[in-house]
Subunit: 139 residues, 2 copies
Amino acid sequence: MNEIKKMLDNENIKPTYERLSILQYLEKNHNHPTVAMIYEELVKKIPTISKTTVYNSLNLFMEKGIVAPLYITGSEVRYDLSTSQHHHFLCEQCGKIYDLTIDCPYLNKNTIEGHQIKQKHGYFRGICKSCLEKDKSQK
Amino acid sequence: MNEIKKMLDNENIKPTYERLSILQYLEKNHNHPTVAMIYEELVKKIPTISKTTVYNSLNLFMEKGIVAPLYITGSEVRYDLSTSQHHHFLCEQCGKIYDLTIDCPYLNKNTIEGHQIKQKHGYFRGICKSCLEKDKSQK
DNA sequence: TTCATATTTGAACTCATTACAAATATTAAA
DNA sequence: TTTAATATTTGTAATGAGTTCAAATATGAA
C-alpha cells in the first residue's frame, strides 16, 4: 500500500481513495482487467464510485506511465501495472491473457527508424496450452 | 485483379462483386484502413453497398487468414492484407501508421510456451520521425 | 468562514461493431 | 424454364466501450 502511494507521489497525483483503490486492485490482481472488471470489484467496497472515475483515473495513470494499456482483444482496453516490459498471449477460446517473458531485442530501445517510441506492444493470439490439452482429451 | 480472385478461390469464398471490391481496395491502398474508410471509398463506386457487408466480408477474410487485423489504436480495428508479417508504428500526433521491417525471432514460430499461435501483433506507438522534425522546426 | 480549485459523479452522448430479419441473388433439382 | 433451397446483401435496431459535460462534492489556502 505504501508502494502505491509512492507511485502517485512520484507523479504528483493526489492520492484520493478512489485512485489508491484502483491502483491497489491492479497491484493485487494481475489479470489484465477491463474497466468493467475493476468497477464491479471496487463498487462492492466503494458503493458510490462511478465508472467515469475508473476511466479518468486509468487515463491519468497511462499519461504518467504508471499503467500500461493492452489492445490485445480488439474490443476493449485491458490494463496492467507498468512494471517490467513483457509480451502477452490471448487465448481465443477461454479468453485468458498470459504474460510471456520474451527476450525481445527492442524492449530497451526508445527509437525505431527515427520514430520516438512511447509504448511497445507485443501480442500473440491463438489457443492456449491448457485449452489444447482439454480439446485433445475430449476428442 | 486476378490475384485477388485466386485468394478467394483458394479459400472457397464466392467472389462476389462486393468482396472483390473490398479486397481490391486493400491491395491498392496500404493505409491500414478502418471499416469506415473502406466503406466511404467503395460507396462511391457501389452506391448500394452497406457497412454490414464490409464488416461481414472482413470478418470472413480474417477467419480465412487472408486479411490481418491491427488493434494498434485501441479504438477501432485497422485492416491489412496478410502478405508478409511485419510490425507497425502508430504516430500519436498525426495518426499515421508506418510499416516496420523488424527481424523478430518469433515471426516464423507457431507455438510459444506451449500455446498455439494464430496471430502475431508487434506495435510501437509514439511520435513519428516526420512529426519530430516538424515540431523541432516550429520551436 | 470564504473562496478557489480539484475531483467525483451520473446522465447524455458518440461511435464501432454486432444481431437480425427482410430483400435479393445464386445454384441445384425437377 | 419453373421451383425450391441456400447464400449473400442490406438496413435498421441494439449493444457496449468510452467520452463529454455540468452539477455536486471534497480539498486546501487565505
